[in-house]
Symmetry: C2
Subunit: 340 residues, 2 copies
């Protein structure tokens, strides 16, 4: 490098109790070092903000190790290669991977935790690579098809329907010949889900009883429930499931900031009565097959059969407040942070 680059970063300073707050973060500035052999330098353009990030901040056994105190906060993102001493990526190419909450990423091109891969900004706008063509899209695709296993004619219900994963789950369900019913908070989100994304119906849990909504909009009962929220909504859906229903446990955003015990589904014995199943999924298990899902989703995006919506917040400095939006239901679509 011939110029000196300053790299602003957000590091985990403390493990939050309940909702994360400003004091949980430490802002640091580092000078970007020289590249070693095999290294690349990537400039972060967009970061993905995800509910799962709240879990990574806890010191608990999970599907991925916790972020350490003092470590740059883990985040997926898309960026552009500014410098390269690797044959794998050339300067100017766009990549997606584990950039972290920072302006620049430097390290081995083959770094396993970062897991960079090239993306084509001509095929879809960069934020879409963090949405339908990124982890949320992969989660929707594999969670619905592999765990939910919907059959044409069945009814698929998804919570967080306007969110990153939910929007694709419902659209895929429609493409697979199912009735798609969303659950979302607020009239604007519900309108979008039905009018823009083409769901058959959407229940506004802030305005109406989810139980009544399910009765009205799922007259044949619920065959697949894709759960992103947990809590009372999961419990209510459990009262409306059909025999042999499949409940995909993808997340439980209503519970991630709990300071007391997680609310377990009191109606879980509906699984017994209905010979139904509740199954957890983690998208990383399907990594070998991401290319298949990306090809399919990319084609449907190009053809206009699937739409994506991102909610873009600008400025690295706004990371903490932007993250909080997720848990307050304030984002409308996949939440991404654009770095200036």
């Amino acid at each position: 490098m011939t110029t000196t680059l300053e790299n602003r970063q957000f590091r985990l300073a403390a493990r939050p109790v309940g909702m994360s707050q400003a004091s949980d973060w430490q802002q640091t500035v580092e000078t970007v070092r020289e590249l070693a052999d095999g290294d690349i330098l990537v400039q972060t353009l967009y970061l993905s903000l995800d509910p799962a990030m709240r879990g990574w901040m806890n010191d608990a056994k999970s599907y991925i190790r916790p972020v350490a105190i003092g470590e740059v906060m883990r985040a997926g993102g898309v960026g552009v290669v500014l410098a390269s001493r690797s044959a794998k990526f050339a300067v100017g190419e766009h990549v997606s991977g584990g950039l972290g909450v920072q302006q620049y990423w430097i390290g081995q091109a083959e770094d396993k935790a970062a897991a960079f891969y090239k993306i084509d900004p001509e095929l879809a706008p960069l934020p879409t690579w963090l949405n339908t063509l990124g982890m949320p899209g992969m989660t929707a695709y594999f969670g619905l098809t592999e765990v939910g296993q919907p059959r044409a004619g069945e009814t698929v219900v998804v919570s967080g329907a306007a969110g990153a994963v939910g929007q694709t789950v419902g659209q895929l369900a429609r493409l697979l010949g199912c009735r798609a019913v969303g659950i979302a908070g607020g009239a604007a989100k519900c309108d979008f889900v039905v009018k823009e994304l083409g769901f058959d119906a959407c229940i506004d849990y802030k305005q109406a009883s989810v139980r009544d909504g399910l009765k009205e909009h799922c007259p044949q009962g619920v065959d697949v429930y894709f759960d992103n929220v947990g809590g009372d909504i999961l419990d209510t859906v459990l009262t409306r499931i059909n025999r042999k229903a499949r409940i995909v446990i993808c997340g439980a955003i209503s519970q991630y900031n709990n300071t007391s015990q997680v609310q377990g589904p009191a109606n879980y014995l509906s699984l017994l009565v209905n010979r139904a199943r509740m199954e957890g999924m983690v998208v990383f298990d399907y990594a070998d097959r991401y290319p298949v899902a990306m090809a399919a989703l990319g084609k449907w995006l190009q053809e206009g059969k699937i739409k994506s919506r991102e909610d873009v917040v600008r400025g690295l400095e706004n990371f903490p407040q932007a993250l909080s939006m997720l848990f307050e239901g304030k984002n409308f679509g996949k939440l991404v942070l654009q770095l200036s």
Copy 2:
């Protein structure tokens, strides 16, 4: 009929709140009528007392219709044919089916609710036809093999291990090459489960921490958990499950007498972290294949590879108190009521 038979019966008088009590029952005596064409008269010899009976007393949608107020309480049992005007069953033959809590059953031999089938008292003692060769055995066999799907070398944990279903689940798991760990209440039951039934270990939940017991006795984690109890034990097992674990929801005896809400599994997000599943089962779904399971279990019983233990209470008049034993953990083995 040339003699007059008096038939003593227990009818549901009130829907219990919490634990059932004497006032929930009405004792009636009826004179047995003459047989019509196609009828049989069966004398009840043993009745099966099951946790599920508590659920049948509630006026709630379930896998089977509730027992109506004033109706003879539903119960499976074995009996002997005293009179027959059907070609299907001859006098002196032993049958198993829905006799109800009464001394005599009269009706069409083909009655669908009763669903009588012949049993061979030479193959196994009559109470065993209500245990290993009856619904508990069928539940254990299909719940474990079809829903739990254990593979040799895996660890199978079962609660209610000395009970009707649990005893067979653990023994089957051993026959399938698995490590079998029981959870039961009291040293006597645990001794029996290990020394008589051959489980690898048994955790006495009344004496020790289930969490510590699972750590000690399931060093490789839990691959299959066959749940008969629900409540805290289900929650604790959820903290010890392996990736892709299967939890069979067969029952939740700890919750059946709740007057408040059922305790949902607060640790259900372990399903997500571990890509595990929780699935309900109802034995009736496998009715077409009962003969297969009966043949296999019958052979293993004859060979001494599977043992059965029944807890026999005598006297129809003791039905209410005997039923309560189930929920107090007082029965030791499959609970049956012998009619004098």
